[in-house]
């Protein structure tokens, strides 16, 4: 690029003074850059299309041979004769663990982001931002090992407490045993998506117009009121995008869930009971011994396709919410 544009700056074009530059006399540098940018855009679309086509093509092979109901069967036995598999448990586990992660992580993330952007003195805010970045750089298998070796044994107390006070709901009933449930996976996922949500939210909160904040202060608002009437409404769509980024990571997380969860093909009524599974975790666990002769791999790919679709839907929904909020908040303008 620099080679192309260098001569341009050295020798300005003869006479573009009169009319606005038409397509014919685009400078070579512009043309090259346009081509490159357009090419990048097309590449992205081609890659997405290639993934979608591959997933669909492989998935159809498995789906035509499936003897169970793909959406409702509580079983995963694609290597058996006849093959029977369904994604009910996986879809439930994926959505539930991600929702738990969101419920735990988003409020804390907003808190951290506000603290760094509006409360903490600069001396504290900067190192804190580093620490959050550091969390984002830890590979997921390390989170998984930490979760399995440290978090799980230390969660028993919390589980017993929840059982005592929330056990009557049936959803938080704890029957003893190692705490390797969807709830634990949700806690671990929450920690993993914390940095993503925090970083993006922090950036958005920092962008909130100083004039608004000062106007609010001039009206006699307290620090909290300033945040409530000027920072939060401005940052709302940004926080939603941040949460969706986090949700995307939670939905697709593989190794951390696979190390912490005790997978089974049952939906437990209590979130604290071991069992369940997620799409990505099941692919990781079943791929090694999936028989190449049968449809083991294709069945896993079919489940991957469902995850692909769920992720697309989630992203679409987020776009929709942001588009609706745009006019009120003035963000993304």
């Amino acid at each position: 690029m620099s080679i192309d544009s260098a001569p341009d700056t050295a020798a300005p074009p003869p006479a573009p003074a009169g009319k606005a530059a038409t397509k014919q006399n685009l400078r070579p540098g512009d043309r090259v850059f346009l081509g490159l940018a357009r090419g990048s855009g097309i590449t992205l679309l081609v890659i997405m299309a290639a993934i979608a086509v591959f997933l669909t093509w492989q998935a159809t092979k498995a789906l035509t041979e499936n003897e169970g109901n793909f959406l409702t069967t509580f079983e995963w036995d694609p290597n058996a004769e006849p093959p029977v598999f369904g994604i009910a448990v996986l879809a439930f586990g994926t959505v539930v663990s991600s929702v738990i992660a969101m419920v735990l992580a988003v409020p804390i993330s907003i808190g951290i982001a506000l603290f760094i952007s509006h409360y903490a003195p600069r001396r504290v805010a900067t190192p804190m931002a580093y620490v959050v970045d550091l969390l984002a750089a830890v590979p997921s298998i390390v989170y998984g090992l930490w979760g399995a070796l440290f978090l799980v044994p230390h969660l028993t107390g919390l589980y017993e407490w929840m059982d005592a006070y929330l056990g009557w709901t049936g959803v938080f009933e704890y029957n003893g045993g190692a705490a390797r449930s969807l709830f634990t996976a949700g806690i671990l996922l929450a920690i993993m998506i914390l940095p993503v949500v925090t970083n993006v939210s922090r950036e958005v909160f920092k962008q909130s117009p100083k004039m608004h904040e000062e106007a609010a202060l001039a009206l006699g608002a307290t620090r909290w009121e300033v945040i409530r009437i000027s920072v939060l409404p401005f940052g709302r769509s940004g926080v939603i995008s941040a949460s969706m980024l986090g949700l995307g990571r939670a939905l697709g997380e593989t190794m951390a869930v696979a190390t912490v969860l005790s997978p089974s093909f049952m939906i437990e009524t209590s979130l604290l009971d071991p069992g369940g599974g997620t799409f990505a975790q099941n692919i990781a666990a079943s791929f090694k011994e999936a028989s190449p002769a049968g449809i083991g791999r294709e069945a896993l790919i079919a489940s991957g396709l469902v995850l692909f679709v769920i992720t697309l839907l989630v992203n679409g929904l987020a776009r929709l919410i942001i588009a609706r909020r745009k006019e009120y908040s003035g963000a993304n303008a």
Partner: protein, 374 residues
Amino acid sequence: MKLQRTNRLRALAAGALAVSGALVLTACGSDDNSGDGDGGSSKAASNIKCEGKGNLLASGSSAQKNAMDVWVKNYQAACPDTQINYKPTGSGAGIQEFLQGKTAFAGSDSALEAEEVTQSKKVCKGGQGVDLPLVGGPIAVTYNVSGVEDLVLDAETLAKIFDSKITKWDDAAIKKLNPDAKLPSTKIQAFHRSDDSGTTDNFTKYLNTAAPDAWKYEPAKKWAAEGGQSADGSSGIATNVKQNDGAIGYAELSYATGNDIPTVKLDTGADAPVEATTENASKAISEGEIVGKGSDLALELDYKTTAAGAYPMVLVTYEVACDKGNDAATLDATKSFLKYAASEDGQKALADIDYAPMPDEIITKVRQTVDALA
């Protein structure tokens, strides 16, 4: 502009910090995996006869990976002209690749099925694929019950425990087998493999044969029973048994000894309960019989054996090669490597890494078959 520059510096610093932090953390993480690697002995490999040269490709069972690693290391130390590459892709994929003629031999947890033998005639010109039992291993049932040092169980009790029919450690059935032990009323947490595995296949084969009334599920690589907890891989089982009071699980013996967790003694009906050791496993393998036809040495294990000192919960893995019609380019090297694996030295190396050497009468036949490979 100034602002921007500091920002960039800050980002750099953050990145550097993050990277170094991640490195430190990963280092901690991977520490955990050591201990069950190829800590096997590499004795002076003087008896290895090198024949053939070049690359030897093989793939298959991951259960015999550690054994292969040791054999390959020893063999290559003696025969630097041969490169052996064994990929632990799983038995199914290994046999598939062998049948397609991509590999010189395959490793497999189970003997070839009739259909696979027919298919093998295409690759083995004038011959067929044969099973050579070369690696055995005890499947240990490991447990963690505070205050219990010595635990005896039989097939039926094991089946009931893993099928969530027995849920407390002080159950009458367990008490009966362990009259002297102080059994607590802790809840039993039975751990099984969450991934498909040959170990699960062999473990459930044992339960299904030795206690057919208590274990009704068909043996398979995938865990069929409901309830209990699951974990990924043998190391996952061992880790979870180690950190949960009241836990019980099954894994290859090396994972139990490596993690320093006790193993269950089996009440097989013999005079005394049998411990999970490589020696006792070899003994049990010798109780089985060869059911393969001709030069094929497929074994049928006797899971119900009551012979003294025979530990029947074993798995046997095979190497699969052609009896006739092996690829001429790799025949010499294959023969020479398998000869070493079946030799006294090769089998002795197994016991050091918690695999069971094949009993004499079987290994003698393996040697004859290997000598006759063409």
